[in-house]
Structure formats: C-alpha cells, structure tokens
Amino acid sequence: MTWEYVIPNVETGAPSRASELPMDNDAFAAFYKRSARSLWAYLARVSGDPALADDFMQESYVRFLCALRPDEGEVASRRYLFGIATNLLRDHWRKPASTSIEELPEELFAEKDRAMQLDSHASLGRAMARMRPRDRQLLWLAHAEDYSHREIAEITGLGEASIRLLLFRARRKMAKLLRERPAEKARRA
C-alpha cells in the first residue's frame, strides 16, 4: 500500500489533471474570437468604463473556463458568458466604493480618453449613460444582442414577466432622451 492510496488526491498527477480545461485551445480561441467583442461592448456600455470592461472581460472568460458544465453549444455558452459578466457587474455595483484617488493607478486616467473616443455618437452615448445600470443592461441585451425575454431572464436572474415591463419602461425612457437630443440641438442653434 502506498501513501498515494491512503491519501488518494495527493498524487502528483491530480493537480495537473485538475488544470485540464473543458475546451481545447483551438475551440476556445474560435469561441473567443466570435464572442469577445460583443462581451466587451456590453461591459463597456453598461459600466460606462472601458478599463473596467477590460478587467471584467478577462475575469468572465477565466470563470467561464473554470466552470464545470456540460458543453451545450455556442449559443448557450455565450449566454452563460454574459451571465457571468452580469454577475460581475452586479457585484461591482454592490461593493462600496472606498478607493481614494491616491490609490488609483495612473493608467485609469489615460483610459478616460479612450472612453471619450468611444463616443463619436457622443449624445447617443450620453443618453445611454443617463439610464440606470439595470435599464442599460436590459436595453443592451434586448436590442444590441437580440436576446429574447426568456434569455434575458436567464442572464440577469430576473423574472421573465418583470423583464417585459422593465424593458418597456427603459425603452420609453431612452426614447424620450433620444427625442430630447434633436430638440436640444435646435435650441443651441
């Protein structure tokens, strides 16, 4: 009887087997190529912070790869990925913002320029930014990613019936903000 038999998991091969991922390199690279830009856009527009979107995108993929779940195809994997990203955003908003300005890295200020670059449709972006985070989330998932109410419910963890109503309200508010835009322009002119 060897000590590996008495203590089964302390064999040298166990951790290396544990680090084997459910997706191989090529499959993951292809999936990443198809989904990463959409995920980043979702994170960047909902959070309003491109640097945060970079971090959360990385974290979402790492969690996605670490999750032990059956392969249910590209659509389900993508939905699962958006679900992870949504949870990360929710946790971020729940966390109290206690960082002082001295603790912030210098790169963060450089990132603001990138955020500005995003908005060549500046007023459109501003209208989006004036929405509540949850409304931004719902609008983006419904109208940028074309998810159904059932899929949005799965991603956000909200009830399907609530999604219908919340989305209706969010859309009405956004439309109002968008209609104000030409009126503002006309006033300025």
Binding site: N9, V62, H121, A175
Partner: protein
C-alpha cells in the same frame, strides 16, 4: 406609465433583428410605426443602440486567448491544491486536539499520584525492580505502569482517527 401591448410589435421586432427594416416593411406597417408610440420607441431605441454597438465593438482591445487559458489553468490548479490541503488540515487539527486531550488526561491522572512518584524515586535504587531484567515484568505488577501501553495506544488512535477523518472528508 401604462403598459400597453401592440399586436404588431413582434412583426417590427423581427424586421429590426433581421436588419430588414424599413426596406422589408409594408407601407402599412411603416405608417403604423409612425402612429404607434410603442413601435416608434422600439424602432428608435433599437436603431440607436445598434449603432452604438457597431461603434463600441470596433473600440474593443482583445487579449490573447492563450493568456486567458493559462490563467484559467492556473486557477483550476490552485483550486485543486486547496481542495487537497483542506481535509489534510482538518485531519491535523483533529489529531492535535485528540493529542492535547490525551496529554491533559495523562497529566491529570499523574497529578493524583504525584507524591507516590516522589516516594518511588527515593526507593528506586533499593528496588529489585529497577534492574533492567526485571523492569518488564514489574510494569505489569503496578496499575500505574499500564500507562506505558495506554499512551502509545491513544497516540496511535489519535493518528488513525486523523486519517479516518481525512478519508471521510475526502469522500464528501
């Protein structure tokens, strides 16, 4: 705000999703969208968000997928090591507690006989039993000496219980 459903919303949504609005819309549907607030909001918001999406996607900076795979592998490996370490630490703590209890019990039982021990040390040189050849048989003659067997037995029990606890938690 009143939530009023529109029967033509699904039709408009489908055309918007497929990117065929307004080209594929009938003149009647187009005029409906102009008059229906709900469908009008839908078209306005959908087109605005879609144009934001196109713009935002082009600004995305992507990392190498290899880097993400490596990070995920590292995280899973660390998690595997942590899961191995957890029951081991539990077994060590259990064995330690058992050992301490045994030690405390031993000290307490010996404290009762402390004076007798001192007496025994004084008499030891005169005792025949102090000689090595009689020491073994002597240990069976006095009740206190049974501890010589009790301590290793309890020690072995503590170690074994640690191993059993480890195996039990490992199965879970």
């Amino acid at each position: 705000m009143i939530f009023k459903a529109c029967l033509r919303e699904a039709e408009v949504t489908e055309l918007l999703h497929s990117g065929r609005w307004p080209a594929a819309g009938t003149p009647e549907l187009v005029s409906h969208v102009h008059s229906c607030r709900r469908c009008n909001d839908l078209v306005l918001v959908k087109q605005a968000i879609y144009s934001l999406r196109v713009e935002t996607i082009s600004a995305a900076r992507l990392d190498s997928p290899g880097l993400l795979l490596w990070r995920a592998q590292l995280r899973r490996r660390n998690a595997a090591f942590a899961s191995v370490g957890r029951p081991l630490a539990g077994a060590q703590i259990f064995a330690m507690i058992t050992f301490i209890l045994v030690a405390v019990g031993l000290v307490a039982s010996q404290a009762k006989h402390g004076i007798q021990w001192l007496q025994w040390f004084e008499e030891a040189p005169q005792l025949r039993a102090f000689h090595l050849e009689t020491l073994w048989s002597f240990s069976f003659m006095r009740a206190d000496w049974n501890l010589t067997f009790l301590i290793p037995t309890l020690g072995a029990l503590a170690i074994l219980s640690g191993v059993v606890l480890y195996l039990a938690s490992e199965k879970q």
